[in-house]
């Protein structure tokens, strides 16, 4: 993999740091009028998801990370792996529990997810921004209640728990924003 000098740093660049692939989020140059320049960089570790700040001496190089994103449809899980397929080539990839992480609760069959591959192996699974899931458990609400009264928790078929308005009932399918876990509306 190529090395990148600090002059090539920009948002989205993937680099290796402490043996872990990372994505650069922000890069800011800090330079005194007389003296050495530095780059203060905000980085997301792609496996742990941790965001941190790191300072480099300008002109230094770091190793690039062989990371790429690919869009694949979720098929099924066998309990140990979660299987995804490229809808054009029908090639399949299996992601383990570590790669799927907390996003397991947003996986809906046939939904196209972004799979992040590092050296060809999945390290992260990002669900679509919006998914539609059925409610399996929630307190029965009173008819006539409208949204905006604080709502109640509802458990979805995947195990995810979101707050929904009181009028939403078991068996209904709702649309949820996976980035914020927020209820968006009922699906007819």
């Amino acid at each position: 993999m190529a090395n990148y000098s600090t002059n090539e740093f920009k948002g989205g660049l993937k680099i290796m740091l402490d043996g872990e692939p990372c994505a650069i989020l922000e890069n800011e140059m800090v330079k005194p009028g007389k003296g050495q320049a530095f780059n203060r960089v905000k980085i997301r570790k792609l496996i742990s998801g941790k965001v941190l700040e790191k300072t480099f001496k300008s002109g230094d190089s770091v190793e690039g990370a062989d990371v790429m994103d690919t869009d694949l449809a979720y098929l099924y899980t066998d309990g140990e792996f979660w299987h995804f397929m490229n809808n054009e080539t029908f090639e399949q990839i299996a992601a383990d529990e570590k790669a799927v992480g907390e996003n397991v609760k947003w996986l809906v069959e046939n939904d196209v997810c972004t799979i992040t591959l590092w050296n060809g192996s999945p390290i992260a699974v990002t669900p679509p921004n919006f998914v539609e899931l059925e409610i399996t458990e929630t307190d029965p609400g009173l008819k006539g209640d409208t949204a905006g009264t604080g709502g109640k928790p509802a458990t979805l078929i995947t195990g995810a728990v979101v707050r929904v308005p009181l009028f939403v009932q078991i068996g209904e399918v709702i649309k949820v924003d996976t980035r914020t876990s927020e209820y968006q509306g009922r699906v007819k």
Binding site: M29, V30, K31, P32, A37, F38, F56
Partner: protein, 332 residues
């Protein structure tokens, strides 16, 4: 009149990076600066942007071009000035008296929230002023333009002691390394061989954000190893007559009690070039006209360079340098 929203503007590269209202405030500030110096009988001058010689400073990268024309069919190499300092000192040596200039300066490899490779510099020189007399005049200009509290001042040594509890003049390379490691800069510190790089790292990252928040803050008596073009302090040669001004997390100005000794100046150029070679950079040919002017006689004087764009940022409350310029480098 059409109003361009920030979101749309980022897409439309023909349009200015700064709002017209900000550019109007900028024009007012430039006018105030000119009036300030006219009232003090300091002469406005203009010197070339294109210079035959460049600077030896290890941390400055220049733009170069060439002149082709009568007498120079093979091309005369020229550099865009990184500051008008050498040319202005030649005027001082020729007897100009107090002078100022609002000039474009060009620095390659510098771009960011506080940097644009082409920027505007206010530089002025005061014969017979020492650095403290010049700092007093800068204070007046600051209060006039920014309507701020009077500037405070602290020595480089004291600010290190106060903020980091370390003496920058006596700490060894290893002591500076462990200090940098303590603050999380291990990757830079462990391989570092230059004391000054570690001092600059600690200063930029740990000290600068903590000073000059309420009022602009002068830091004076920089270490002799970072004297640049300043005289060493005759009472304590560990430090130089160099100062900087910081306000709200920004470096605003750099000034010197100017080195007037041609031999010493040439020796510093040689030293810079040795360091350039050590660091794998090309040595830079010294500016002969500048050295000849010093040999002819530069009057005892102090001078300062102040970033006009950053001054406008502070006056208008803008967070990025491009917001106070008509067109930043992305729109050049």
């Amino acid at each position: 009149m059409a109003v361009i929203k920030e979101g749309i503007m980022s897409e439309q590269l023909w349009a200015p990076s700064g709002e017209i209202a900000t550019l109007r405030q900028r024009a007012v500030i430039l006018h105030k600066i000119r009036t300030f110096f006219a009232e003090r009988d300091v002469m406005e001058v203009e010197t070339p942007s294109l210079c035959a010689a460049s600077v030896t400073d290890v941390h400055l990268a220049t733009f170069s071009t060439e002149f082709v024309g009568p007498g120079n069919s093979a091309g005369l190499p020229l550099y865009l000035q990184t500051s008008p300092e050498f040319a202005m000192k030649r005027l001082l040596a020729a007897g100009s008296g107090a002078i100022y200039q609002i000039a474009k300066a060009f620095r390659n490899e510098e771009s960011g929230k506080h940097h644009n490779p082409e920027f505007t510099m206010l530089e002025w020189y005061r014969p017979d002023f020492d650095e403290f007399a010049l700092m007093a005049e800068i204070n007046e200009l600051m209060m006039h333009i920014l309507d701020c509290q009077p500037c405070t001042s602290i020595s480089y040594q004291q600010v290190f002691m106060d903020v980091l509890a370390i003496d920058p003049l006596s700490a060894s390379l290893d002591e500076l390394k462990s200090e940098a490691i303590k603050y999380g800069y291990g990757d830079i510190a462990e391989a570092e061989t230059q004391r000054d790089t570690l001092l600059q790292l600690l200063f930029c990252m740990e000290i600068e954000p903590k000073i000059g928040q309420q009022a602009p803050c002068f830091v004076y008596h920089f270490p002799a190893s970072q004297a640049a073009l300043a005289k060493l302090n005759p009472e304590d040669t560990r430090v130089a007559g160099r100062f900087e001004l910081y306000y709200k997390g920004m470096e605003l100005a750099n000034g010197f009690n100017e080195l007037t000794d041609a031999t010493e100046q040439a020796a510093r150029f040689v030293q810079d070039n040795q360091l350039r070679v050590e660091l794998g950079l090309n040595p830079v040919e010294m500016d002969r006209h500048f050295l000849d002017a010093l040999a002819h006689g530069l009057p005892t004087c102090s001078g300062v360079a102040l970033g006009v764009d950053r001054l406008v940022m502070l006056a208008t409350g803008k967070g990025a340098i491009k917001e106070v310029m008509a067109f930043d480098i992305a729109r050049a």
